[in-house]
Amino acid sequence: MKFYKVKVEEREVLGSYTLLRYRWPDRPVEPGQFVMARAAGYPETLDPFLARPFSFYDYDGEMASLLFEVRGRGTALLDLTLTIEVTAPLGKGFHIDPGLGRAALLGGGIGVAPLKILGRRLDTAGVPHDVFLGFADARSAVVAQEFQGAAVATMDGSAGNHGTVLDAAGPLEDYGAIYSCGPNPMLAAVKLAAGENSLCQLSVEERMGCGNGSCNGCVVPVRGGGYIRSCLEGPVFPAEVLAW
């Protein structure tokens, strides 16, 4: 896998999350696509060993941005460094079809990340949409300020509605398209709530080895049996494909 060393041009703390911007010229990015990223790679260090997957939060043709939450060692280091290593955009993103009518975007926790660039692209395509965001608490909900007009819920009730993102959203059947990203159990709940009538697309979260389809590490179970790679055939899948 080819990594590019890029400078962190900007870093912004948004509650529990960090927003980080770097220059990424001339390569188109689909909403829902991701990069493998890390603070520094070989030969500087082998620790941490693997790069980590992050969705594009935004991209304006020049500056790309990632929104991330510090969980373990890889993200902790990412939070400190001035240069990072990233791959070219990877995976299949969200499919935008203006013919489907109004869209609902549902994000859970750090899963809100790809909804920013998705919302922008929907705007460009003239697709009306509502945004629903669920968080653990007020601190992680700070990022909601970046999503104008979004309905917010928190599990502890410290900001927005008390409850899950689905509580904030209400019934979903009337939306022509549903886009969601968040922890896998939340995605399963969204799939259920979406019913059969809309195009429901889910961006899944699995551990990755390579990010380019080589290791078969990042699979999700599919309807009809077996597994497919979320880094190459996903991370965004039509809900009906997934055996959840």
Binding site: K2, F3, G209, S214, N216, G217
Partner: protein
């Protein structure tokens, strides 16, 4: 550009079982998909896709990979579409270098059957037998665990595919005995080693994370030792595998006795072209050719009074 041109004056080619490899690097089976091939043009001296089995295999449920200090543990479970579908897709791996095909069966008969199928396929230059299947059970016992079963499988495959070289890929456990057995049964080369059986634990959740095979730089000293020990007792070429992450690592494996070297996990974390470039620089700086390296350290520093502390 100028740099690359200077580098190309270094002789990178090696001979392996009658095949000429443009470079001694080979992708380790299971670590390079056809979708990622455009990233590696010109790097490898041969192609080696993921192990194929008689029928399609779904593989293990996720999580399948976990990071470890200087390595990773995987438990893919040999997910693959089966040999028929594999052969339909094989042209994708034609990058103008010899194609080696890795096979695994649950029984000796399956191994031999796979070899028969491949025997007539002119696109395939050699067959690698994945004899390291600790996950394949056979009559309740681990298959291919000891020299007797290694010998049996290799012999059966040897007659099933008389026209092509056979590479036997061995695990670390019992590697010297198994290498001898594979050679005497007619293996033309030995790939040494596969991943080490390993476990990762999620202490916070208090559960097993991934039970699988350890790969990456963490195992390099173990793989180097296996290559060194095996190449000291067999006459067939040895292909090194395990933990290569730099051009210096490639050199270390060849010095220890390898004729060619596989790059696996490293290709997830860096561009394999850089590994080749580093190796080329190493040869240049030391006025060496790739083929001249193999086994060059044998006998140097003969103070090996018996090995490791205990």
């Amino acid at each position: 550009m100028v740099v690359r041109e200077q580098k190309s004056r270094v002789d990178l080619a090696v001979e392996l079982c009658g095949l000429t490899l443009r470079t001694p690097l080979i992708p380790a089976s299971g670590t390079l998909s056809k979708e990622a091939l455009d990233e590696v043009e010109g790097v490898y001296g041969a192609m080696l896709p993921k192990t194929t089995t008689p029928a399609a295999r779904a593989g293990n449920p996720p999580p399948r990979v976990a990071e470890t200090p200087a390595g990773m543990v995987n438990s893919i479970g040999l997910q693959n579409p089966g040999v028929e579908s594999f052969l339909q897709d094989l042209d994708a791996f034609d990058l103008g270098v010899p194609i080696l095909v890795s096979v695994a069966g649950d029984t000796v008969a399956e191994f031999a059957w796979l070899c028969e199928i491949l025997a007539g396929d002119a696109r395939i230059s050699a067959v690698e037998l994945n004899l390291s299947c600790p996950n394949v059970e056979c009559g309740g016992l681990a298959f291919c665990a000891g020299p007797a079963s290694v010998e049996e499988v290799v012999a059966a495959c040897r007659s099933a595919v008389p026209g092509k070289p056979i590479l036997a890929k061995l695990t670390n456990e019992g590697v010297v005995e198994n290498a001898r057995a594979a050679e005497s049964a007619g293996a033309d080369a030995l790939t040494v080693i596969n991943t080490l059986p390993a476990l990762t634990v999620d202490a916070r959740a208090r559960k097993v994370l991934v039970k699988g095979g350890l790969s990456g730089p963490a195992i390099k000293p173990v793989a180097l030792r296996a290559v060194y020990d095996v190449s000291g007792v067999v006459n067939v070429p040895v292909i090194g595998s395990g933990g290569v992450v730099s051009g210096t690592d490639v050199a270390e494996f060849m010095l220890a006795g390898a004729t060619a070297v596989q790059v696996g996990t490293a290709s997830f974390i860096r561009d394999p072209q850089e590994i080749l470039d580093e190796f080329t620089s190493y040869l240049k700086d030391n006025s060496l050719s790739a083929a001249g390296l193999t086994g060059a350290l044998r006998g140097v520093r003969p103070v090996l009074t018996g090995g490791e502390d205990i």
